[in-house]
């Protein structure tokens, strides 16, 4: 196709634009776009870049607070952590590329999220991943788990940022559409944050980093459509990662920022040079003129369309202080990276692209960004699922067998096979990595540490989007509080199916509403995020998965606790549960799925006031030294949480059980707002609970043995649990 060929609607449709959107482009331009211009419109108006289906609802999320330095809308969110420091973080999906090419898809997901963080002037200090795969025995699962794990490690290990946590789960709804969400957390000086808005008409626009190739062309558009059986043919739209160049770019950019040469900076992520140039210019209320013949390319004969839509990795666009140009060039020379002035900032509010001596594109910026379509898509919620009573789910199944079955399931078994492939220790500030409630990473050179967790329970969201959205926030909150840290803010990654279907749109609306309410009550504003829609294959939608990535702060890292029992003969308390409790919420639990063979049902309700009270109490008592180990109760319920504490600390325990016909529900129910803690002085701790007017009581004692004793009749050796808990994933992946 020739560059100057006039486009028709069929061309726009092939790029994923609707007929209305096509007409809007014609109206805004007052002429027919050429190929390059149409490509730019289709990328900027893609779901991935424009958030056109979700924007209306995202605006309802709480995004402000005294701790928030920068909320959504920049490359990453920024939160104050005191003493002149700030943490910068964001989560982003790379679902579609990772399904097509798991190693490169996952690796470039990590590379992309790291760029989002260091673009803000922050040195990345931690990576986490939220992953969802298909059923364990699906023919593709092993290949995908293996490739994604290797890709995440391949990038993070090489660039030298520790991968400290995350979550993995398996469900048949992900058989044809896996989820790979990568989160990065960085550290910056609060007064040295860098933004993307271009400034100063006439200032040079500099291209730095790797050269541009034909990889990933129109990736943002691919991420905005459903998959089909022909998806394999999209392999060429997956980018290839180069973590070594990523490392060079990171170091060079941080050095350049320290030299105060950068005025504004934006990474070339989704939609590459298109989104970076358009966003920088439009945020600054300015224009930009770029000579595409100056863009460093690694292939010949690249068209304007290809250069603008390439998603080659490890590239940045920046506006620099012209007086600092030589300093800047010297820094990039030292790191052996391309440093190429390719254009200038203008005051025309237009994007003008020159190529081969002519004008390849000349379009006003306003329609690309401000007039981008925003839809109020119709939605119709599915009927809420019924509450399932314990009685309907309990069968004649021994407690011990149920615990073994749960602990050895793909849902709950140890993730060691995965996380040992990640360098979790590089930078030497990791205090707790995978295997606990939240990861803990020291703020280098200080006594502070950040606690970080990613969470979502998709089966809850599917059954009740509002409660499920709130639960994701509540669980992340508990995980942060269980270390002793104070939750500060969240980033979210909303993974859903096709928003043009009313029931899917209802999931999106419900989950955002639930999430928003929880973030408000728990005072954890949303500071950044990402939306991934159209996660469907052949019209089968995924279980909705609105992932929450939460960051908290503890002032003295030495006061933090882990989940493992630490000493013998100490009291184990459950917080958030009355002493006479003899039942539990089994509906939609892991137990119901694995033992009773029943999926679905109303999820456990979320009481945000209780979450707040219990979380704050646990955090405060940890910092005061009253709690020696803490663990939130979530998937698998109380007994699974106990077993995890015992395994982690390598100490047994005696557990008291109630007289009950519904003991299995007591043991494996997934009621929310609960913690297990180990304390030295039971009497004093009970008094503290009473004083705070909180439900909670002692349910057991840690023991100098390798045995978990549950009531008078049941004993389970830790060795037996460990064996099945640790061997599940290695066997699955063998």
């Amino acid at each position: 196709m020739l560059e100057n060929t006039e486009m028709r609607f069929a061309d726009a449709e092939a790029m994923g634009l609707s007929h209305d959107e096509w007409l809007l482009i014609l109206k805004r331009l007052d002429r027919t776009p050429n190929l390059c211009e149409l490509g730019i419109f289709s990328a900027m108006w893609s779901e991935h870049c424009s958030y056109k289906s979700s924007k209306k609802w995202l605006k309802t999320l709480p995004t402000t607070g005294p701790q928030v330095i920068q909320g959504p809308g920049e490359n990453a969110g920024v939160v104050d952590i005191g003493d002149g420091l700030a943490t910068v973080f964001k989560i982003e999906s790379h679902n579609h590329p990772s399904y097509i090419e798991p190693y490169q898809g996952a690796a470039t997901g990590v590379g992309g999220i790291l760029r989002d963080v260091f673009t803000m002037g922050a040195r990345p200090i931690a990576l986490l991943n939220a992953l969802r795969f298909g059923e364990e025995d699906h023919q593709k699962t092993k290949h995908l788990v293996s490739g994604v794990t290797a890709g995440i490690g391949g990038y993070g290990n090489c660039i030298g940022i520790p991968t400290v946590g995350g979550e993995v789960n398996f469900h048949k709804s992900y058989n044809g559409n896996i989820l790979v969400n990568a989160m990065a957390v960085g550290l910056a000086h609060a007064d040295r944050i860098f933004y993307s808005a271009a400034n100063g008409a006439g200032n040079p626009v500099i291209y730095v980093g790797a050269k541009t190739g034909r990889d990933g062309i129109h990736g943002a558009t691919m991420a905005s459509t459903e998959f089909s059986d022909e998806t394999e043919s999209k392999r060429p739209t997956v980018q290839v990662g180069d973590p070594f160049t990523g490392k060079l770019l990171m170091e060079a950019c941080l050095e350049l920022m320290a030299a105060e040469a950068v005025l504004s900076i934006q990474d070339m992520g989704a939609a590459g040079l298109t989104s970076s140039s358009v966003e920088m210019a439009s945020k600054g209320g300015l224009g930009m003129e770029i000579d595409l013949d100056l863009v460093p390319v690694r292939e010949t004969q690249m068209s304007a369309y290809e250069i603008m839509l390439s998603e080659s990795q490890e590239r940045m666009l920046m506006v620099i202080d012209p007086d600092q140009a030589e300093t800047a060039r010297a820094i990039f020379d030292r790191w052996d990276l391309d440093f190429m002035p390719i254009g200038r900032v203008t005051d025309t509010q237009r994007l003008v692209l020159l190529k081969d001596g002519g004008v390849a594109c000349d379009i006003p910026l306003a329609p690309l960004v401000d007039d981008a379509p925003e839809y109020d898509r119709p939605y119709r919620p599915n009927e809420l699922q019924p509450v399932l009573t314990s009685g309907s789910l309990i069968c004649d199944f021994p407690v011990k067998d149920a615990l073994i079955k749960l602990m050895s399931s793909a849902d709950l078994a140890s993730r060691r096979w995965i996380y040992e492939q990640y360098d979790s220790d590089v930078m030497a500030d990791t205090l707790a990595a995978s295997g606990g409630d939240a990861a803990l990473v020291r703020v280098h050179g200080t006594n502070k540490a950040l606690a970080i967790s990613t969470d979502c329970t998709p089966r809850y969201v599917e059954a009740d989007p509002f409660e499920g959205g709130a639960q994701a926030v509540a669980e992340a909150w508990r995980n942060i509080c269980a270390t002793g840290a104070k939750p500060l803010g969240v980033t979210n990654n909303l993974n859903f199916g096709n928003p043009e279907k009313q029931d899917i749109m209802a999931q999106i609306v419900g989950a955002i509403n639930g999430m928003g309410k929880a973030c408000k009550v728990l005072d954890t504003p949303v500071v950044s995020g990402n939306v991934s829609l159209y996660n469907e294959t052949d019209s089968m939608a995924i279980q909705p998965c609105p992932v929450i990535g939460m960051v908290g702060l503890i002032d003295e890292w030495e006061t933090a606790v882990g989940i493992g029992f630490t000493s013998v003969g100490e009291a184990i308390f459950v917080i958030g549960q009355p002493a006479d409790c003899a039942d539990g919420w089994l509906g939609n639990s892991v137990f119901a799925k694995l033992v009773a063979g029943r999926e679905g049902g109303a999820p456990p309700p979320v009481d945000l006031d209780a979450e707040k009270a219990h979380g704050q109490f646990v955090r405060e008592q940890i910092v005061l030294g009253q709690i020696k180990a803490a663990h939130d109760i979530s998937d698998g319920g109380l007994l699974v949480a106990l077993a995890e504490m015992a395994l982690s600390g390598n100490l047994g325990a005696d557990i008291n059980i109630p007289e009950s016909d519904t003991l299995l529900a007591w043991a494996f129910g997934e009621d929310q707002a609960r913690f297990l803690v180990q304390v030295e002085d039971a009497v004093k701790f009970q008094a503290l609970l009473d004083e705070h007017n909180l439900k909670g009581h002692q349910i057991g004692t840690t023991k100098d043995s390798q045995i978990l004793t549950v009531g008078p009749d049941v004993t389970i050796s830790l060795e037996e649990i460990r064996q099945c808990y640790e061997s599940k994933l290695p066997e699955m992946m063998a």
């Binding site: 090489c158 030298g160 930078m427």
Partner: protein, 228 residues
């Protein structure tokens, strides 16, 4: 005590090593860029972990041919002390300063976890002389190519000359152990004069202060005392 840490563009444990050494000596080591061919005289040169030039080729192969490594080889030829950790060990093998090679882990996967190391009692190194013979150390590893391999005659020479510094050993916490398939469980080796040490585990990640172990500090302190 003058220490220099060599920095390649893809080094990623240079800062961690600098922090660890400074904690022990109270003095910040010099960071020397790979393009530098001149180096002030030092007592110990450390080649840190990382991915020197991306290691898309053989690990350490490009780094072994840089100006700063030429300077390091001069230092070693004069009997100077050298420590190479992980990627640094790979580079030392690529220079030929130490015999053998590091191939991909037996299970073909990157592995990051703590391991137990046994100091070999017959080592003849002044760098390790202040440690008790047979000392056991818990230190983390993190590598994809840590599977030590050498020709039979090289292995025989290493054994005869007491050039094997550390072997992976079993422990109650980490179980039976050879994390990467290394020949004879070898985790670290010495040059024939005992003044060049290459090892896969990362002592700079085990210096207490929030790390699960402080055995790395013990080891680094011994090395720093040994070269003094």
């Amino acid at each position: 005590m003058r220490v220099a840490i060599l920095v390649f563009p893809g080094s990623n444990c240079d800062r961690d090593m600098m922090v660890a050494v400074e904690k022990i000596t109270g003095r910040r080591p010099a960071l020397v860029w790979h393009k530098d061919s001149q180096m002030d005289p030092v007592d110990l040169i450390i080649l840190p972990g990382g991915f020197s030039f991306g290691d898309y080729l053989r690990c350490g192969a490009l780094a072994a041919r840089t100006p700063v490594v030429e300077a390091m080889l001069d230092h070693a030829s004069r009997g100077g002390a050298v420590l190479g950790v992980c990627n640094g060990f790979q580079i030392l093998l690529e220079t030929g300063l130490l015999p053998g090679t590091l191939i991909r882990n037996e299970r073909l996967k990157f592995v990051c976890r703590s391991v137990n190391l046994q100091l070999q009692p017959d080592h003849g190194s002044p760098l390790l002389s202040t440690l008790d013979p047979g000392h056991s150390l818990t230190i983390p590893i993190a590598h994809n190519e840590g599977n030590y391999f050498a020709q039979e005659d090289d292995l025989e020479m290493l054994k005869q000359n007491g050039q094997i510094a550390f072997k992976y050993t079993a422990s109650p916490a980490f179980g039976p152990d050879n994390p990467n398939g290394a020949t004879d469980d070898i985790a670290g080796i010495l040059s024939s004069n005992g003044r060049v040490l290459g090892m896969m585990p990362h002592p700079e990640r085990a210096i207490g202060n929030g790390h699960p172990s402080s055995d790395g500090k013990l080891l680094l302190r011994a090395i720093l005392q040994g070269v003094a």
